[in-house]
């Protein structure tokens, strides 16, 4: 087989920078970020979509990038934990995780932070979760817990994560206004 068929040209916009890459079709977005783009913030905790450590935002939505083939992300806008800060200050979610000590070993933290950013946006958009009752706008600790349940933390910094995400909720909304 012509080995050129086994690779593809892919354009990704990652944290605002455009990258043109030629990649093996098997490459996952997680491996591309970590091995080709030197962005090791997203972590390989399980590589099977079961822990959430690799959570990044693709076109604004949080995803487990270990299960995405990079070739299928051609043309996507990707934000990793490294791209959340605006260059001057930390993202409100990062600030809140620091202030609440919402981590111990920190390995799951990049995924938790990206997931929280995505979750807050989904809540702001009124998207339901399994615990959303009726059509009222989702808010509160029960919603945060349900929506963050795809991110495992073995240190179990969970109580502080709930608080951190709650703290960040209002500030994050402002943040999105400023940095679309």
């Amino acid at each position: 087989m012509d080995s050129r068929l086994l690779t593809s040209a892919v354009t990704l916009r990652v944290n605002g920078t455009v990258h043109r890459l030629t990649l093996d079709n098997r490459s996952t977005l997680l491996d591309t970020l970590r091995e080709d783009l030197d962005l090791t913030g997203a972590k390989k905790g399980c590589d099977h979509g079961q822990c959430g450590s690799c959570t990044v935002l693709v076109d604004g939505r949080r995803v487990n990038c270990c299960l995405l083939l990079t070739v299928a992300c051609d043309g996507s806008e990707i934000t990793t934990v490294e791209g959340l800060s605006d260059g001057w200050s930390l993202h409100p979610v990062q600030e809140a995780f620091l202030a609440r000590d919402a981590f111990q070993c920190g390995y799951c933290t990049p995924g938790q932070v990206c997931s929280a950013v995505g979750a807050l946006r989904e809540m702001a958009e009124g998207r339901p979760s399994a615990v959303t009752v009726g059509t009222e706008p989702p808010s509160g600790a029960a919603e945060i817990r349900e929506r963050m349940s795809g991110n495992l933390c073995r240190c179990a910094a969970y109580p502080n994560i709930v608080r951190a995400v709650g703290d960040a909720a209002e500030r994050a909304a402002e943040w999105w206004e400023r940095t679309p």
Partner: protein, 332 residues
């Protein structure tokens, strides 16, 4: 993972012919299950035909009250759709009970229906498994099977189908719209998945090259009063031990319309037709619900370690029905 080619076809026809032409080809939707299985060596495609760019992203209201859902609609988008949330809450609830937000943001409707079993032996490419490697045997029957089937299994396979969405769709008599080599056709969702019999390697009736393009939900007024409930080993982000999707309409204390399907207990989403049959016209009481569900489960053949799923499923189903009856104004 094996080396592979990747294509983004221009249209449905191109997609179908690309897969038809290549025995080792697979359609790629969100990939949350397929890529996982490729990493495990369970799936070894040499061509991926990416159908996520095909025009199957819409959720459309149909004349007469039904809804047509594109196969490429993301699980989270379907769950959040206002029409689906009001007319078919069981669908939204089933989706939101499964996986995590990160997975639901990627997984598609078509892919969800075609996900493969979570049986440990199927997932372990180093072990025998009739579903993965026909004729090698089923170690689950004597092995680790706590979460496997109590209904519809065979001596060749006791796997369960893992989809939550499919259970809701089975209850609603959804139709699956398929494009294949011979043109479009519709398959009732309840007939999409197969029981294993002596061919457990075939999960569905689809032929190689068949592409799910849409799922059509027929009008079902009783579905306004519907619910999906799921019991699992932890509070979230776990597959079902047992699940129930149901819709109920009660008139004058009697069951007027009922839809009931069970998940996590069979090789396919299990439409509980025997129970429905008994319930039509019966009083909407816990006793009647219990008798009906027991009738459905009377054919259960649990394995050594999963007998608990029989009463678990009975309790879950009866409660869902009671709850729906309560909401419908019937006694509970």
């Amino acid at each position: 993972m094996r080396t592979l080619r990747y294509q983004r076809p221009e249209g449905v026809e191109a997609a179908v012919s690309a897969v038809n032409a290549t025995p080792g080809a697979r359609y790629l939707g969100g990939g949350t299950n397929l890529v996982d299985l490729m990493k495990l060596g369970v799936e070894t495609p040499d061509l991926l035909v990416d159908v996520s760019g095909l025009p199957h992203h819409d959720i459309e209201e149909l004349p007469g009250g039904g809804v047509r859902i594109g196969a490429a609609v993301r699980n989270s988008d379907l769950a959040a759709d206002p029409l689906v949330r009001t007319r078919y809450p069981v669908v939204s609830q089933a989706l939101l009970a499964g996986a995590s937000d990160q997975l639901r943001n990627v997984a598609t409707v078509g892919g969800n229906l075609l996900q493969r079993t979570r049986c440990l032996y199927f997932q372990d490419a180093g072990k025998p498994c009739n579903k993965r490697a026909p004729g090698t045997g089923c170690p689950a029957i004597e092995g680790v099977h706590r979460n496997l089937a109590i209904l519809g299994a065979s001596p060749h396979c006791v796997a369960t189908h893992p989809s939550d969405l499919a259970v809701a769709l089975a209850a609603l008599d959804a139709q699956v719209l398929v494009e294949g080599g011979t043109g479009p056709r519709e398959i009732p969702l309840t007939e999409l998945h197969r029981l294993p019999g002596d061919r457990p390697e075939r999960d569905t009736v689809l032929e190689h090259g068949d592409l799910i393009t849409h799922v059509r939900l027929p009008a079902a007024p009783e579905a306004v009063n519907s619910a999906y409930r799921k019991a699992r080993d932890r509070a979230s982000f776990a597959f079902a031990l047992s699940s129930v999707g149901a819709a109920l309409e009660v008139r004058d204390g009697l069951v007027h319309r009922v839809r009931l399907a069970l998940g996590g207990v069979a090789p396919k989403p299990w439409r509980a037709r025997a129970a429905e049959e008994r319930l039509r016209g019966a009083p909407a009481t816990p006793e009647a619900f219990t008798r009906a569900v027991e009738a459905e489960l009377s054919v259960a053949e649990p394995l050594r370690d999963n007998a608990f799923k029989v009463p678990l499923t009975r309790h879950l189903a009866v409660r869902v029905l009671c709850d729906l009856a309560g909401r419908a104004g019937g006694p509970r």
